[in-house]
Amino acid sequence: MNPFDYTRAGSVAEAVAAGVSPGATFLAAGTNLLDLMKGGVTRPDRLIDITRLPGLDRIETLPDGGSRIGALVRNSDLAHDRDFAKRYPAVAEALLSGASAQLRNAATTGGNVMQRTRCAYFYDTASACNKRDPGAGCDARGGETRLNAILGWSEHCVATHPSDFCVPLVALDAVVEIESAAGRREVPLEAFHQLPGDTPQIETVLSPGELIVAIRLPPAAAVFSGHARYLKVRDRTSYAFAVVSAAAALRLEGGRIAEARVALGGVALKPWRARAAEAVLLGAAPDEAAFRAAAEAALTEARPSGDNAFKIELARRVIRRALTLAAAGTPDRLPALPASPFAVQSGVPAYA
Protein backbone atom coordinates (compact mmCIF):
# COMPACT_ATOMS: atom_id res chain seq x y z
CA MET A 1 0.00 0.00 0.00
CA ASN A 2 1.33 3.46 -0.87
CA PRO A 3 1.63 6.07 1.89
CA PHE A 4 -1.15 8.65 1.88
CA ASP A 5 -2.30 11.77 3.67
CA TYR A 6 -5.35 11.42 5.84
CA THR A 7 -8.09 13.97 6.48
CA ARG A 8 -11.21 13.40 8.54
CA ALA A 9 -14.03 15.51 7.16
CA GLY A 10 -16.39 17.05 9.71
CA SER A 11 -19.04 18.17 7.24
CA VAL A 12 -20.16 17.44 3.69
CA ALA A 13 -18.95 20.89 2.65
CA GLU A 14 -15.50 20.15 4.06
CA ALA A 15 -15.42 16.74 2.37
CA VAL A 16 -16.36 17.92 -1.10
CA ALA A 17 -13.93 20.86 -0.86
CA ALA A 18 -11.09 18.47 0.00
CA GLY A 19 -12.25 15.91 -2.57
CA VAL A 20 -11.52 18.19 -5.51
CA SER A 21 -7.74 17.98 -5.13
CA PRO A 22 -5.99 15.62 -7.55
CA GLY A 23 -5.22 12.21 -6.05
CA ALA A 24 -7.87 12.56 -3.33
CA THR A 25 -10.29 9.69 -2.68
CA PHE A 26 -13.19 9.44 -0.26
CA LEU A 27 -12.88 6.73 2.39
CA ALA A 28 -16.02 5.20 3.90
CA ALA A 29 -15.73 1.64 5.30
CA GLY A 30 -12.87 0.95 2.91
CA THR A 31 -13.83 -2.69 2.31
CA ASN A 32 -13.14 -2.32 -1.42
CA LEU A 33 -10.74 0.64 -1.35
CA LEU A 34 -8.26 -0.87 1.13
CA ASP A 35 -8.28 -4.14 -0.79
CA LEU A 36 -7.43 -2.24 -3.98
CA MET A 37 -4.74 -0.21 -2.21
CA LYS A 38 -3.16 -3.31 -0.68
CA GLY A 39 -2.93 -4.77 -4.17
CA GLY A 40 -1.41 -1.59 -5.58
CA VAL A 41 -4.35 -1.31 -8.00
CA THR A 42 -5.21 2.17 -6.78
CA ARG A 43 -2.75 4.58 -5.18
CA PRO A 44 -4.56 7.61 -3.77
CA ASP A 45 -2.36 10.41 -2.40
CA ARG A 46 -4.96 11.46 0.11
CA LEU A 47 -7.88 9.77 1.84
CA ILE A 48 -10.78 11.92 2.94
CA ASP A 49 -12.54 10.03 5.68
CA ILE A 50 -16.29 10.59 5.39
CA THR A 51 -17.36 8.09 8.08
CA ARG A 52 -18.05 10.85 10.64
CA LEU A 53 -20.23 13.00 8.39
CA PRO A 54 -23.42 13.76 10.33
CA GLY A 55 -26.85 12.71 9.09
CA LEU A 56 -25.81 10.29 6.34
CA ASP A 57 -26.59 7.13 8.33
CA ARG A 58 -30.38 7.38 8.28
CA ILE A 59 -33.06 5.38 6.49
CA GLU A 60 -35.98 7.74 6.00
CA THR A 61 -39.49 7.38 4.69
CA LEU A 62 -40.25 10.55 2.75
CA PRO A 63 -43.53 12.50 2.88
CA ASP A 64 -44.33 11.37 -0.68
CA GLY A 65 -44.01 7.72 0.36
CA GLY A 66 -40.58 7.17 -1.14
CA SER A 67 -37.48 6.16 0.82
CA ARG A 68 -34.13 7.80 1.27
CA ILE A 69 -31.08 5.76 2.23
CA GLY A 70 -28.16 7.78 3.58
CA ALA A 71 -24.85 7.05 1.89
CA LEU A 72 -23.33 5.80 5.16
CA VAL A 73 -26.10 3.30 6.01
CA ARG A 74 -24.38 -0.06 6.37
CA ASN A 75 -25.52 -2.88 4.10
CA SER A 76 -26.60 -5.12 7.00
CA ASP A 77 -28.54 -2.34 8.73
CA LEU A 78 -30.50 -1.67 5.56
CA ALA A 79 -31.18 -5.34 4.84
CA HIS A 80 -32.39 -5.95 8.40
CA ASP A 81 -34.48 -2.79 8.67
CA ARG A 82 -37.92 -4.35 9.01
CA ASP A 83 -39.90 -1.58 7.33
CA PHE A 84 -37.45 -1.19 4.50
CA ALA A 85 -37.22 -4.93 3.81
CA LYS A 86 -41.00 -5.19 3.80
CA ARG A 87 -41.35 -2.42 1.23
CA TYR A 88 -38.40 -3.44 -0.94
CA PRO A 89 -37.87 -7.17 -0.34
CA ALA A 90 -35.76 -7.73 -3.47
CA VAL A 91 -33.33 -5.06 -2.28
CA ALA A 92 -32.97 -6.77 1.09
CA GLU A 93 -32.53 -10.16 -0.58
CA ALA A 94 -29.86 -8.79 -2.92
CA LEU A 95 -27.98 -7.20 -0.02
CA LEU A 96 -27.99 -10.42 1.99
CA SER A 97 -26.77 -12.42 -1.00
CA GLY A 98 -23.69 -10.21 -1.28
CA ALA A 99 -20.30 -10.58 0.40
CA SER A 100 -20.12 -11.95 3.97
CA ALA A 101 -21.75 -10.95 7.25
CA GLN A 102 -18.54 -9.16 8.29
CA LEU A 103 -18.33 -7.16 5.08
CA ARG A 104 -22.04 -6.29 5.10
CA ASN A 105 -21.61 -4.95 8.65
CA ALA A 106 -19.04 -2.47 7.39
CA ALA A 107 -19.82 -1.75 3.74
CA THR A 108 -21.91 1.33 3.06
CA THR A 109 -24.69 2.26 0.63
CA GLY A 110 -22.55 4.79 -1.23
CA GLY A 111 -19.57 2.46 -1.22
CA ASN A 112 -21.57 -0.34 -2.76
CA VAL A 113 -22.56 1.87 -5.68
CA MET A 114 -18.95 3.08 -6.05
CA GLN A 115 -17.26 -0.33 -5.82
CA ARG A 116 -14.91 -1.24 -8.64
CA THR A 117 -15.11 -4.20 -10.97
CA ARG A 118 -13.76 -7.53 -9.78
CA CYS A 119 -12.29 -8.32 -13.22
CA ALA A 120 -9.17 -10.34 -12.39
CA TYR A 121 -7.15 -8.46 -14.99
CA PHE A 122 -8.02 -5.14 -13.35
CA TYR A 123 -6.80 -6.52 -10.01
CA ASP A 124 -3.63 -8.11 -11.39
CA THR A 125 -1.15 -5.26 -11.87
CA ALA A 126 0.99 -7.50 -14.11
CA SER A 127 -1.87 -7.65 -16.66
CA ALA A 128 -2.78 -5.00 -19.20
CA CYS A 129 -5.95 -3.14 -18.27
CA ASN A 130 -7.38 -0.07 -19.99
CA LYS A 131 -9.36 0.80 -16.88
CA ARG A 132 -6.30 0.84 -14.61
CA ASP A 133 -3.88 2.16 -17.23
CA PRO A 134 -5.71 3.80 -20.16
CA GLY A 135 -4.30 2.71 -23.51
CA ALA A 136 -2.46 -0.30 -22.09
CA GLY A 137 -4.79 -2.86 -23.68
CA CYS A 138 -7.08 -5.50 -22.17
CA ASP A 139 -5.68 -8.89 -21.19
CA ALA A 140 -9.18 -10.12 -20.37
CA ARG A 141 -9.77 -10.43 -24.11
CA GLY A 142 -8.80 -14.01 -24.86
CA GLY A 143 -8.37 -14.69 -21.15
CA GLU A 144 -10.66 -16.00 -18.43
CA THR A 145 -14.01 -14.34 -19.06
CA ARG A 146 -16.44 -16.30 -16.89
CA LEU A 147 -17.25 -13.18 -14.85
CA ASN A 148 -17.00 -10.77 -17.78
CA ALA A 149 -19.60 -8.94 -19.80
CA ILE A 150 -22.10 -10.06 -22.43
CA LEU A 151 -23.89 -6.71 -22.75
CA GLY A 152 -22.65 -3.17 -23.34
CA TRP A 153 -18.95 -4.07 -23.52
CA SER A 154 -16.36 -2.68 -25.93
CA GLU A 155 -13.08 -3.83 -27.41
CA HIS A 156 -11.41 -1.75 -24.71
CA CYS A 157 -13.07 -3.30 -21.66
CA VAL A 158 -15.21 -6.36 -20.92
CA ALA A 159 -15.46 -5.92 -17.14
CA THR A 160 -18.71 -6.12 -15.14
CA HIS A 161 -20.07 -4.13 -12.23
CA PRO A 162 -20.14 -6.55 -9.30
CA SER A 163 -22.93 -5.11 -7.15
CA ASP A 164 -25.99 -7.13 -6.13
CA PHE A 165 -27.61 -4.19 -4.31
CA CYS A 166 -27.63 -2.03 -7.46
CA VAL A 167 -29.58 -4.58 -9.52
CA PRO A 168 -32.97 -4.28 -7.75
CA LEU A 169 -32.24 -0.59 -7.15
CA VAL A 170 -31.95 0.09 -10.87
CA ALA A 171 -35.08 -1.96 -11.48
CA LEU A 172 -36.93 0.23 -8.99
CA ASP A 173 -35.83 3.55 -10.55
CA ALA A 174 -33.48 4.53 -7.72
CA VAL A 175 -31.99 8.01 -7.83
CA VAL A 176 -28.50 8.99 -6.68
CA GLU A 177 -28.24 12.23 -4.67
CA ILE A 178 -24.88 13.90 -5.24
CA GLU A 179 -23.33 16.82 -3.40
CA SER A 180 -20.45 19.04 -4.51
CA ALA A 181 -19.15 22.55 -3.93
CA ALA A 182 -21.57 23.63 -6.67
CA GLY A 183 -24.57 22.27 -4.77
CA ARG A 184 -26.74 19.20 -5.07
CA ARG A 185 -27.77 17.26 -8.16
CA GLU A 186 -29.58 14.01 -8.81
CA VAL A 187 -28.87 11.28 -11.34
CA PRO A 188 -30.99 8.20 -12.00
CA LEU A 189 -28.95 5.13 -10.95
CA GLU A 190 -29.51 3.74 -14.44
CA ALA A 191 -27.49 6.67 -15.85
CA PHE A 192 -24.90 6.77 -13.05
CA HIS A 193 -22.48 4.05 -14.18
CA GLN A 194 -20.85 4.48 -17.58
CA LEU A 195 -20.43 1.77 -20.20
CA PRO A 196 -16.77 1.38 -21.20
CA GLY A 197 -16.75 2.61 -24.80
CA ASP A 198 -13.23 3.82 -25.51
CA THR A 199 -12.83 5.41 -22.04
CA PRO A 200 -13.20 2.51 -19.57
CA GLN A 201 -11.29 4.53 -16.98
CA ILE A 202 -14.38 6.76 -16.65
CA GLU A 203 -16.70 4.67 -14.53
CA THR A 204 -19.42 7.00 -13.27
CA VAL A 205 -20.85 10.46 -13.93
CA LEU A 206 -19.13 11.83 -10.82
CA SER A 207 -16.65 14.66 -11.21
CA PRO A 208 -13.77 15.14 -8.75
CA GLY A 209 -15.14 16.36 -5.42
CA GLU A 210 -18.64 15.04 -6.01
CA LEU A 211 -19.92 12.84 -3.20
CA ILE A 212 -22.91 10.50 -3.04
CA VAL A 213 -24.97 11.53 -0.01
CA ALA A 214 -28.04 9.29 -0.47
CA ILE A 215 -29.92 6.85 -2.67
CA ARG A 216 -33.62 7.53 -3.08
CA LEU A 217 -36.41 5.18 -4.07
CA PRO A 218 -39.52 6.80 -5.57
CA PRO A 219 -42.96 6.10 -4.04
CA ALA A 220 -43.86 3.84 -6.99
CA ALA A 221 -41.06 1.41 -6.05
CA ALA A 222 -43.06 0.04 -3.11
CA VAL A 223 -45.99 -1.23 -5.22
CA PHE A 224 -43.99 -4.35 -6.08
CA SER A 225 -43.49 -5.48 -2.48
CA GLY A 226 -45.75 -8.53 -2.82
CA HIS A 227 -43.98 -9.88 -5.92
CA ALA A 228 -40.31 -8.99 -5.86
CA ARG A 229 -37.31 -11.31 -5.86
CA TYR A 230 -33.59 -11.39 -6.52
CA LEU A 231 -31.92 -14.50 -7.90
CA LYS A 232 -28.15 -14.90 -8.08
CA VAL A 233 -26.24 -17.73 -9.73
CA ARG A 234 -22.68 -17.93 -8.43
CA ASP A 235 -19.82 -20.40 -8.39
CA ARG A 236 -20.32 -21.32 -4.75
CA THR A 237 -23.41 -21.22 -2.58
CA SER A 238 -22.41 -18.19 -0.54
CA TYR A 239 -19.85 -15.38 -0.47
CA ALA A 240 -19.21 -15.14 -4.22
CA PHE A 241 -19.91 -12.58 -6.91
CA ALA A 242 -22.69 -13.23 -9.38
CA VAL A 243 -21.98 -15.04 -12.62
CA VAL A 244 -25.45 -13.82 -13.57
CA SER A 245 -28.17 -12.38 -11.34
CA ALA A 246 -31.60 -10.88 -11.88
CA ALA A 247 -34.09 -8.77 -10.00
CA ALA A 248 -37.72 -9.27 -10.95
CA ALA A 249 -40.67 -7.27 -9.66
CA LEU A 250 -44.30 -7.53 -10.73
CA ARG A 251 -47.55 -5.78 -9.97
CA LEU A 252 -50.43 -8.11 -10.75
CA GLU A 253 -53.97 -6.94 -11.38
CA GLY A 254 -56.86 -9.20 -12.33
CA GLY A 255 -54.54 -12.06 -13.29
CA ARG A 256 -52.46 -9.84 -15.60
CA ILE A 257 -49.13 -8.08 -15.23
CA ALA A 258 -49.94 -4.42 -14.70
CA GLU A 259 -46.31 -3.39 -14.17
CA ALA A 260 -43.03 -5.25 -14.48
CA ARG A 261 -39.41 -4.50 -13.61
CA VAL A 262 -36.44 -6.60 -14.66
CA ALA A 263 -32.73 -5.96 -14.23
CA LEU A 264 -29.60 -8.09 -14.61
CA GLY A 265 -26.34 -8.22 -12.65
CA GLY A 266 -22.98 -9.68 -13.63
CA VAL A 267 -23.55 -9.09 -17.34
CA ALA A 268 -22.33 -5.53 -17.98
CA LEU A 269 -20.27 -2.70 -16.54
CA LYS A 270 -23.45 -1.34 -14.99
CA PRO A 271 -26.54 -2.79 -13.35
CA TRP A 272 -28.51 -3.65 -16.49
CA ARG A 273 -32.12 -2.57 -16.71
CA ALA A 274 -33.98 -4.86 -19.15
CA ARG A 275 -36.69 -2.51 -20.40
CA ALA A 276 -37.41 -4.63 -23.47
CA ALA A 277 -38.34 -7.51 -21.16
CA GLU A 278 -40.60 -5.25 -19.13
CA ALA A 279 -42.44 -4.13 -22.30
CA VAL A 280 -43.09 -7.74 -23.28
CA LEU A 281 -44.57 -8.52 -19.85
CA LEU A 282 -46.95 -5.57 -19.72
CA GLY A 283 -50.55 -6.80 -19.87
CA ALA A 284 -49.54 -10.46 -20.22
CA ALA A 285 -50.62 -13.30 -17.96
CA PRO A 286 -47.80 -14.19 -15.55
CA ASP A 287 -47.04 -17.53 -17.17
CA GLU A 288 -44.13 -19.42 -18.62
CA ALA A 289 -44.75 -18.21 -22.18
CA ALA A 290 -44.62 -14.58 -21.12
CA PHE A 291 -41.51 -15.10 -18.99
CA ARG A 292 -39.80 -16.93 -21.85
CA ALA A 293 -40.59 -14.09 -24.27
CA ALA A 294 -39.37 -11.52 -21.76
CA ALA A 295 -36.10 -13.38 -21.27
CA GLU A 296 -35.56 -13.55 -25.03
CA ALA A 297 -36.23 -9.82 -25.36
CA ALA A 298 -33.77 -8.98 -22.57
CA LEU A 299 -30.86 -10.69 -24.29
CA THR A 300 -31.36 -9.81 -27.96
CA GLU A 301 -28.31 -7.54 -27.98
CA ALA A 302 -26.09 -9.85 -25.95
CA ARG A 303 -22.87 -11.20 -27.40
CA PRO A 304 -20.02 -13.07 -25.77
CA SER A 305 -16.88 -11.08 -24.90
CA GLY A 306 -14.81 -14.24 -24.81
CA ASP A 307 -15.45 -17.79 -23.76
CA ASN A 308 -18.67 -16.77 -22.02
CA ALA A 309 -21.48 -17.38 -24.51
CA PHE A 310 -23.05 -19.66 -21.88
CA LYS A 311 -23.91 -16.58 -19.87
CA ILE A 312 -26.43 -15.47 -22.49
CA GLU A 313 -28.57 -18.57 -22.08
CA LEU A 314 -27.89 -18.56 -18.33
CA ALA A 315 -29.18 -14.97 -18.13
CA ARG A 316 -32.37 -15.96 -19.96
CA ARG A 317 -32.96 -18.81 -17.50
CA VAL A 318 -32.18 -16.62 -14.48
CA ILE A 319 -34.72 -14.05 -15.69
CA ARG A 320 -37.37 -16.72 -16.26
CA ARG A 321 -36.84 -18.20 -12.86
CA ALA A 322 -36.69 -14.85 -11.08
CA LEU A 323 -39.99 -13.90 -12.72
CA THR A 324 -41.50 -17.25 -11.74
CA LEU A 325 -40.41 -16.68 -8.14
CA ALA A 326 -41.72 -13.11 -8.17
CA ALA A 327 -45.08 -14.23 -9.56
CA ALA A 328 -45.35 -16.86 -6.80
CA GLY A 329 -45.08 -14.04 -4.28
CA THR A 330 -42.52 -12.59 -1.92
CA PRO A 331 -41.98 -15.06 0.95
CA ASP A 332 -42.80 -13.86 4.46
CA ARG A 333 -39.24 -14.51 5.44
CA LEU A 334 -36.17 -14.61 3.25
CA PRO A 335 -34.94 -18.14 2.54
CA ALA A 336 -31.97 -19.45 4.53
CA LEU A 337 -29.85 -18.93 1.41
CA PRO A 338 -30.93 -15.51 0.10
CA ALA A 339 -31.24 -15.27 -3.71
CA SER A 340 -29.83 -18.77 -4.10
CA PRO A 341 -31.11 -21.15 -6.79
CA PHE A 342 -30.68 -23.84 -4.14
CA ALA A 343 -33.26 -22.26 -1.85
CA VAL A 344 -36.19 -24.60 -2.24
CA GLN A 345 -39.61 -23.02 -2.43
CA SER A 346 -42.72 -25.08 -2.79
CA GLY A 347 -44.71 -24.59 -5.97
CA VAL A 348 -41.81 -23.18 -7.96
CA PRO A 349 -40.15 -25.35 -10.58
CA ALA A 350 -36.44 -25.82 -10.05
CA TYR A 351 -35.87 -25.23 -13.76
CA ALA A 352 -37.96 -22.31 -14.88
Binding site: D5, Y6, L27, D49, A99, S100, Q102
Partner: protein, 165 residues
Protein backbone atom coordinates in the same frame (compact mmCIF):
# COMPACT_ATOMS: atom_id res chain seq x y z
CA UNK B 1 3.01 12.72 10.44
CA UNK B 2 1.79 11.22 13.73
CA UNK B 3 -1.82 10.53 14.55
CA UNK B 4 -2.91 10.13 18.19
CA UNK B 5 -5.91 7.80 18.60
CA UNK B 6 -7.72 5.96 21.37
CA UNK B 7 -9.15 2.48 20.97
CA UNK B 8 -11.15 0.82 23.72
CA UNK B 9 -9.98 -2.77 23.48
CA UNK B 10 -11.79 -5.36 25.59
CA UNK B 11 -12.94 -2.56 27.89
CA UNK B 12 -9.54 -0.91 28.34
CA UNK B 13 -8.79 2.45 26.69
CA UNK B 14 -5.56 2.27 24.69
CA UNK B 15 -3.96 5.57 23.76
CA UNK B 16 -1.76 5.18 20.73
CA UNK B 17 0.17 7.36 18.35
CA UNK B 18 0.10 6.02 14.81
CA UNK B 19 3.25 6.85 12.91
CA UNK B 20 1.71 5.55 9.71
CA UNK B 21 -1.89 6.06 8.59
CA UNK B 22 -1.79 2.71 6.77
CA UNK B 23 -2.09 0.66 9.97
CA UNK B 24 -5.24 -1.43 10.17
CA UNK B 25 -7.04 -2.43 13.37
CA UNK B 26 -5.51 -5.87 12.81
CA UNK B 27 -2.00 -4.43 12.64
CA UNK B 28 -2.52 -2.40 15.80
CA UNK B 29 -3.95 -5.33 17.76
CA UNK B 30 -1.12 -7.64 16.85
CA UNK B 31 1.90 -5.33 16.55
CA UNK B 32 1.17 -2.62 19.08
CA UNK B 33 -1.03 -4.25 21.70
CA UNK B 34 0.41 -7.79 21.53
CA UNK B 35 -3.07 -9.24 21.14
CA UNK B 36 -2.03 -11.94 18.70
CA UNK B 37 -5.15 -14.05 19.07
CA UNK B 38 -6.62 -12.19 16.10
CA UNK B 39 -4.99 -13.74 13.04
CA UNK B 40 -3.74 -12.28 9.78
CA UNK B 41 -4.79 -14.77 7.13
CA UNK B 42 -5.37 -13.30 3.68
CA UNK B 43 -5.18 -9.65 4.86
CA UNK B 44 -7.72 -8.86 2.08
CA UNK B 45 -11.12 -9.50 3.68
CA UNK B 46 -11.61 -12.93 2.19
CA UNK B 47 -10.84 -15.45 4.94
CA UNK B 48 -12.33 -14.01 8.14
CA UNK B 49 -9.38 -15.01 10.38
CA UNK B 50 -9.10 -11.37 11.51
CA UNK B 51 -12.75 -11.08 12.63
CA UNK B 52 -13.26 -8.85 15.68
CA UNK B 53 -16.23 -6.87 17.00
CA UNK B 54 -16.26 -3.12 16.56
CA UNK B 55 -19.13 -1.40 18.33
CA UNK B 56 -20.66 -4.85 18.86
CA UNK B 57 -20.55 -5.81 15.16
CA UNK B 58 -18.33 -8.43 13.58
CA UNK B 59 -16.05 -6.99 10.91
CA UNK B 60 -12.82 -7.87 9.09
CA UNK B 61 -10.15 -5.97 11.03
CA UNK B 62 -7.72 -6.24 8.09
CA UNK B 63 -9.92 -3.88 6.05
CA UNK B 64 -10.49 -1.35 8.84
CA UNK B 65 -8.02 1.53 9.06
CA UNK B 66 -7.18 2.18 12.71
CA UNK B 67 -7.05 5.92 12.18
CA UNK B 68 -10.62 5.92 10.91
CA UNK B 69 -11.79 4.12 14.07
CA UNK B 70 -10.56 6.58 16.70
CA UNK B 71 -12.70 6.04 19.81
CA UNK B 72 -14.05 2.64 18.71
CA UNK B 73 -14.90 -0.14 21.15
CA UNK B 74 -13.23 -3.33 20.01
CA UNK B 75 -13.74 -6.85 21.33
CA UNK B 76 -11.22 -9.55 20.46
CA UNK B 77 -10.91 -13.25 21.23
CA UNK B 78 -8.84 -12.28 24.31
CA UNK B 79 -11.88 -10.47 25.71
CA UNK B 80 -14.32 -13.40 25.65
CA UNK B 81 -13.37 -15.59 28.60
CA UNK B 82 -13.88 -14.35 32.15
CA UNK B 83 -10.76 -15.52 33.95
CA UNK B 84 -10.62 -19.26 33.36
CA UNK B 85 -14.33 -19.48 32.52
CA UNK B 86 -14.65 -19.86 28.78
CA UNK B 87 -17.38 -18.20 26.76
CA UNK B 88 -20.08 -20.77 25.88
CA UNK B 89 -19.03 -20.59 22.21
CA UNK B 90 -15.39 -21.31 23.12
CA UNK B 91 -16.49 -24.24 25.27
CA UNK B 92 -18.73 -25.57 22.51
CA UNK B 93 -15.89 -25.37 19.95
CA UNK B 94 -13.78 -27.61 22.21
CA UNK B 95 -16.59 -30.07 22.89
CA UNK B 96 -17.64 -30.39 19.25
CA UNK B 97 -14.26 -30.74 17.52
CA UNK B 98 -14.80 -27.42 15.79
CA UNK B 99 -11.15 -26.95 14.86
CA UNK B 100 -8.08 -28.80 13.79
CA UNK B 101 -5.03 -26.56 13.27
CA UNK B 102 -6.73 -23.67 15.08
CA UNK B 103 -5.54 -20.79 12.89
CA UNK B 104 -9.03 -19.72 11.79
CA UNK B 105 -10.56 -20.47 15.20
CA UNK B 106 -10.39 -17.03 16.87
CA UNK B 107 -12.09 -15.52 13.82
CA UNK B 108 -14.63 -18.35 13.69
CA UNK B 109 -15.46 -17.88 17.38
CA UNK B 110 -15.74 -14.09 17.17
CA UNK B 111 -17.96 -14.48 14.12
CA UNK B 112 -20.10 -17.11 15.88
CA UNK B 113 -20.51 -15.00 19.03
CA UNK B 114 -21.74 -12.10 16.88
CA UNK B 115 -23.99 -14.43 14.89
CA UNK B 116 -25.74 -15.49 18.10
CA UNK B 117 -26.10 -11.86 19.19
CA UNK B 118 -27.58 -10.98 15.80
CA UNK B 119 -30.26 -13.65 16.43
CA UNK B 120 -31.12 -14.25 12.77
CA UNK B 121 -30.51 -17.98 12.50
CA UNK B 122 -33.04 -19.59 14.90
CA UNK B 123 -31.13 -22.82 15.29
CA UNK B 124 -31.35 -23.55 11.56
CA UNK B 125 -28.05 -25.16 10.44
CA UNK B 126 -28.51 -23.81 6.90
CA UNK B 127 -28.89 -20.25 8.17
CA UNK B 128 -25.86 -20.74 10.42
CA UNK B 129 -23.73 -21.98 7.52
CA UNK B 130 -24.84 -19.05 5.38
CA UNK B 131 -24.12 -16.57 8.18
CA UNK B 132 -20.66 -18.09 8.72
CA UNK B 133 -19.62 -18.02 5.05
CA UNK B 134 -17.19 -15.18 5.70
CA UNK B 135 -14.96 -17.49 7.77
CA UNK B 136 -12.93 -20.03 5.87
CA UNK B 137 -11.46 -23.16 7.47
CA UNK B 138 -8.73 -24.82 5.43
CA UNK B 139 -8.86 -27.91 7.66
CA UNK B 140 -12.52 -28.28 6.78
CA UNK B 141 -13.92 -28.38 10.31
CA UNK B 142 -17.19 -26.89 9.10
CA UNK B 143 -19.43 -29.70 10.37
CA UNK B 144 -18.01 -29.31 13.89
CA UNK B 145 -18.25 -25.52 13.70
CA UNK B 146 -21.94 -25.64 12.79
CA UNK B 147 -22.58 -28.19 15.52
CA UNK B 148 -20.72 -26.07 18.08
CA UNK B 149 -22.75 -22.98 17.23
CA UNK B 150 -26.01 -24.94 17.51
CA UNK B 151 -24.96 -26.30 20.90
CA UNK B 152 -23.82 -22.90 22.14
CA UNK B 153 -27.10 -21.37 21.02
CA UNK B 154 -29.05 -23.97 22.99
CA UNK B 155 -26.86 -23.44 26.04
CA UNK B 156 -27.10 -19.66 25.94
CA UNK B 157 -30.84 -19.47 25.27
CA UNK B 158 -32.47 -22.57 26.78
CA UNK B 159 -35.85 -20.83 26.64
CA UNK B 160 -35.68 -20.65 22.84
CA UNK B 161 -36.54 -24.34 22.68
CA UNK B 162 -40.27 -24.60 22.13
CA UNK B 163 -40.80 -20.85 22.05
CA UNK B 164 -39.35 -20.23 18.62
CA UNK B 165 -42.61 -21.02 16.85
Amino acid sequence: MAFPITLIVNGTPQHLVLEDARATILDVLRERLDLTGTKKGCDRGQCGACTVHIGGRRINSCLALAISHDGAEIRTIEGLAVGDALHPVQQAFIENDAFQCGFCTPGQIMSAVALLEEAQTDGDPERIREAMSGNLCRCGAYAGITEAILKAEQRMQPSVQGEAA
